[in-house]
């Protein structure tokens, strides 16, 4: 992805900014200015909670150019409570420590880690829920 696109979507990459149709409640991530479902232009900004659940995951052994530090990293399909699914890298976790159904939370990390001369691109990844929030989740479940 090119630099202008990362920049345009920085609120999406940094804090999971989405949009929701006021008319039919369809939710879009990244945000859209009009609703694909009902055609309404009345969409509201929505900041996703950053909590989610792993639906499926895989290990990446052939990373894309610019992601060479990602050999063997985990990429997951994550279901969000807002009714969306998104694909994201998992971080701070070994393959043996994660399974489908697991609660994860969004963190901001370096997405491209090997560009000595270029812009550092930051964005969302997910990891197992840390500490007190993990306990809180367990209590409310």
């Amino acid at each position: 992805m090119e630099l202008p696109r990362y920049h345009r979507l920085r609120s999406t990459f940094y804090r999971l900014q989405a949009s929701r149709c006021a008319a039919c409640q369809a939710t879009y991530f990244p945000p859209r200015p009009y609703c694909l479902h009902c055609g309404s232009r009345n969409l509201e900004e929505l900041r996703l909670s950053g909590r989610g659940r792993v639906l499926s995951l895989t290990r990446v052994y052939q990373p894309s150019r610019g992601f060479s530090d990602g050999v063997g990293t985990l990429t997951a399909l994550i279901e969000l409570p807002e009714g969306l699914r998104l694909i994201a890298q998992l971080t701070d976790v070994e393959p043996a420590e994660v399974e489908t159904g697991q609660e994860v939370e969004m963190v901001v990390r370096r997405l491209r880690t090997d560009e000595e001369q270029g812009l550092i691109v930051y964005g969302y990844k997910f990891r197992p829920v840390v500490g007190a929030r993990a306990a809180e989740g367990a209590n409310s479940a």
């Binding site: 940094y14 963190v107 901001v108 500490g131 929030r133 306990a135």
Partner: protein, 356 residues
């Protein structure tokens, strides 16, 4: 000079409205470093230190610590008028870390933002500045962060302690504070104890200036001057936090100033994670606030090479009990750890070796 004039006084009473910490998950046992360089384990100052992940840097770590601070309180984004990052490991040489942090927190665009540099004192310098913004009435709230992914030359003695982590403090008026600032001061001199030139990867120590002339002198002078100005003694404090270059220095400093092992215990993190540079004393203060009770008085003295110390006297308020639960404490981050057993993996994570 009369004693009160050395205090940095604010127009309005100020305090810490919230706080948050971050320590990365990686830990390397220092015996793995010692084994590579043929050093006897008994000569190594600590057992393990924190190591950032391959996708972490000062910006990402600041974001998590600041998010933790903002999750503990209900403060509207437009009430926070400044974010300052104190660090000596900026992701870019030129491009502020603080704007990335402000953007990720949703605080842009009408906010003051800058990175501060004063070796390990950069974080407390950010705190002093945040206090000034709030204390003068320029801001209702201001955010100060001290964070580092400290670099050390392979084989250098710093490699056994240079670690990653830090904390964020949201300053506000005293009536919104969980810990009110009773008084603060800064003490600086030109001292050649530690420096890094432009385009050099690693800092170096200035021969014999590291100990007595630098860390001990500045920490002692700042602490004693603050205590004198406020008419207090070490026994008036429940807890004390100092900059933590290594465990031996901290114990010796506390003893020289008249503080006990019990007073420094909760904020003394260097034995577990090493020296987090600009994050070190701030992380210690966050760990103290995690366990503090209303009425507890806290002495905080940072130290940064070059050299200087900021000293603060804080009193914990009943509002400490009103902070939202469910936010990770320092202890949660200390317990969450992934051991790195291999020195080669450590070198890769610290970006000292690269894939060609």
């Amino acid at each position: 000079m009369s004693a009160p004039s050395i205090l940095l006084r604010t127009e309005h009473r100020v305090g810490i409205a919230s706080y948050g910490a971050y320590v990365p998950r990686g830990r390397i046992r220092t015996e793995a470093i010692a084994a590579c360089w043929g050093l006897e384990q008994k000569r190594v100052p600590i057992r393990a230190k924190s190591v950032p992940g391959p996708d972490e840097d000062t910006a990402t770590m600041c974001i998590e610590a600041a998010q933790n601070a903002l999750r503990r309180v209900a403060v509207a984004a437009d009430q926070i008028r400044a974010v300052w990052v104190g660090t000596e490991s900026k992701p870019y040489a030129v491009k502020p870390t603080s704007t990335v942090v402000a953007e990720a927190l949703g605080l842009t665009p009408f906010i003051s933002a800058a990175d501060m540099e004063f070796a390990c004192k950069a974080g407390s310098e950010a705190m002093q500045t945040a206090m000034a913004y709030v204390g003068s009435g320029m801001a209702r709230y201001a955010l100060a962060i001290g964070m580092d992914t400290a670099q050390s030359r392979p084989g250098d003695s710093l490699e056994y302690t240079a670690a990653a982590g830090g904390a964020a403090f949201l300053f506000g008026r005293a009536e919104n504070a969980v810990a009110e600032v009773e008084g603060s001061l800064s003490y600086v001199t030109d001292t050649p104890d530690f420096f890094r030139h432009a385009h050099r990867h690693y800092p170096q120590h200035g021969q014999r200036f590291t100990g007595d002339a630098a860390y001990f002198h500045h920490s002692q002078q700042a602490t004693r001057a603050l205590l004198d100005a406020l008419g207090r003694a070490p026994q008036d404090y429940r807890w004390a936090v100092f900059h933590q270059p290594n465990p031996k220095f901290v114990r010796r400093l506390a003893r020289q100033l008249g503080f006990t092992e019990e007073q420094i215990r909760p904020g003394f993190l260097a034995p577990a994670i090493g020296n987090t540079y600009a994050g070190s004393s701030l992380l210690g203060l966050a760990a103290v606030l995690d366990i503090a009770r209303p009425g507890d008085r806290i002495l905080f003295t940072s130290y940064g090479s070059g050299a200087g110390s900021d000293a603060l006297s804080l009193v914990v308020t009943p509002r400490i009990g009103s902070l939202r639960a469910g936010v990770p404490r320092v202890r949660d981050y200390l317990e969450r750890k992934q051991e790195i057993g291999d020195y080669g993996v450590y070198l890769r994570l610290m970006k000292k070796i690269h894939r060609e």
